[in-house]
Amino acid sequence: MNRILSFVKLDYAALKPYIKSIYMFVVIVVFMGLVNDSISLMFTMVMVGLPMILTYPFAISEKNNLDTLYSTLSLDRKDVVVGRYAFVLINEIIAILVLVIVAIIKSNFKPLDMSSEELVLYVCILSMFFSFIVSFQYPILFKLGYSKAKLYTYIPMMIIFFLIGLFPSIVQRLNLNIDLEAVGHMIFTNLVPISLLTFSLGIIFLVLSALISMKIYEKKDI
């Protein structure tokens, strides 16, 4: 456990070259969250921006030959993978906390455009999407390294936006009689279980992804 925590610390230290752009991102997100009428914009920005930031350790690792460093340390390969996913989870939790804190601060000045239950649901759904994106990106990054994998890392976001964009026409084309109002009602009457379900799905994505990454990184020649 200590080694994994030390690895997470190492990942944070490795982010030093990008620290200014990360601070800039946080400032922009918080500013947009405070000035914009809809709180959801701030959440969406984080969902899109954070997975990109979380590819930085791979970029830095490739540029500075850090896989070699990891091999010279008292560190198993699986610790490297688990540590990198722990780094993701920690950042996700920090991001959620920051977003919720900003939302609470904002609510003191102006009523939010969603209830606190809706906010929890929104956070859980975004967390699931975020986990899906990272779960897709990381095994490829472990396999190919940052330069070769960079293009592929955009695929999950494209899939999500593509599906969201196409959803109405798919429903129409397949002649599906989805009663969106009923779905909405079902969701809002079961906020707690649905929030738990989406959050759990996100965790399942990450665990499966970590297992695949472990297999990939175990076999990798550095």
Partner: protein
């Protein structure tokens, strides 16, 4: 003698190169020079020891323990210096310590700082601001700050000036005064080894062709010279790296084969460079 490092029948195949049945051992208290031409398999062997590459077969024991099963335990006691740095270039030397020290139970911050002082390395400097020689010294400082028992150095001297190389040899000599420690030092600059290496392991085209004491290796071969046309074809075949020039020939021969040569030839002791260069020149196979 207890071995600090033991490789048995180590094999790794790539598309265009393979390491075949590499076996050698390094006893405690000695420095082993690991020599070979560029691309002979030195770095591949070292990467296998450090689990950077996955072996196809064979075994690696460090401090008597399997390097994979006991990886964390083994790596606590190994100090590594590679031919290029593997630290974040934006880090300063304090960042570096903060990042790597948690991985070592025996990290000695005072020793790290003392070594930086000894090497005239400024702790506030960024790694990218250091020269090649300073970067090698930094890797050595890290390697020596966690009380390593085995140093593995992969071509640390390439690109270093003579003064820096000499300093490195002094550091290794000091390190090995503790008879429980050992050094595996890969290089193609064999003059570095003349001063410090007790043992030599010579790898050529992925195969170990010699592993033993430096003296035995140097006694095993002689540089031979003679006039044009004095050698029979069968005699010529015994010469490694045979080279003809305007007044005669020269080459390398096993000392035991000297009796097969005509009396007119002259011979002299060889050095490691002669062995390395002549074996790379083709001609005879090197057994």
């Amino acid at each position: 003698m207890t071995n600090i490092l033991e490789l048995s029948n180590l094999t790794k195949k790539f598309d265009s190169f393979s390491l075949n049945n590499v076996s050698f051992s390094l006893p405690k208290g000695f420095i082993m020079g690991f020599i070979g031409h560029n691309g002979a398999g030195k770095t591949t062997t070292i990467k296998l020891i450090l689990d950077m590459l996955k072996k196809d077969s064979g075994s690696i024991k460090v401090f008597g323990k399997d390097n994979l099963i006991y990886k964390n335990e083994v790596m606590e006691r190994i100090g590594v210096v590679m031919d290029s740095t593997y630290f974040v270039e934006e880090w300063n030397l304090a960042d570096l310590e903060a990042s790597v020290s948690p991985f070592y139970k025996n990290w000695n911050s005072k020793k790290y700082n003392d070594l930086l002082d000894d090497f005239y390395l400024d702790k506030s400097k960024k790694i990218k601001e250091l020269s090649r020689g300073m970067k090698v010294k930094l890797m050595i400082a890290v390697a020596l700050s966690h009380d390593a028992d085995l140093l593995i150095l992969d071509e640390p001297t390439s690109g270093l000036d003579a003064v820096s190389r000499n300093e490195l040899m002094d550091i290794l000599s000091d390190f090995i005064t503790d008879e429980n420690k050992g050094v595996l030092f890969s290089t193609h600059i064999t003059t570095d080894l003349e001063r410090v290496a007790d043992f030599i392991t010579f790898i050529n085209k992925g195969e170990i062709v010699y592993s033993g004491t430096r003296e035995e290796l140097l006694e095993k071969y002689l540089v031979i010279k003679g006039g044009r046309g004095v050698l029979e074809p069968s005699q010529r075949e015994l010469i490694l790296g045979y080279r003809e020039h305007s007044v005669g020939f020269d080459g390398l021969i096993e000392a035991s084969m000297l009796r097969m040569m005509p009396e007119s030839v002259v011979y002299e002791p060889c050095n490691l460079d002669d062995i390395l260069v002549r074996t790379n020149m083709g001609g005879n196979s090197y057994e």
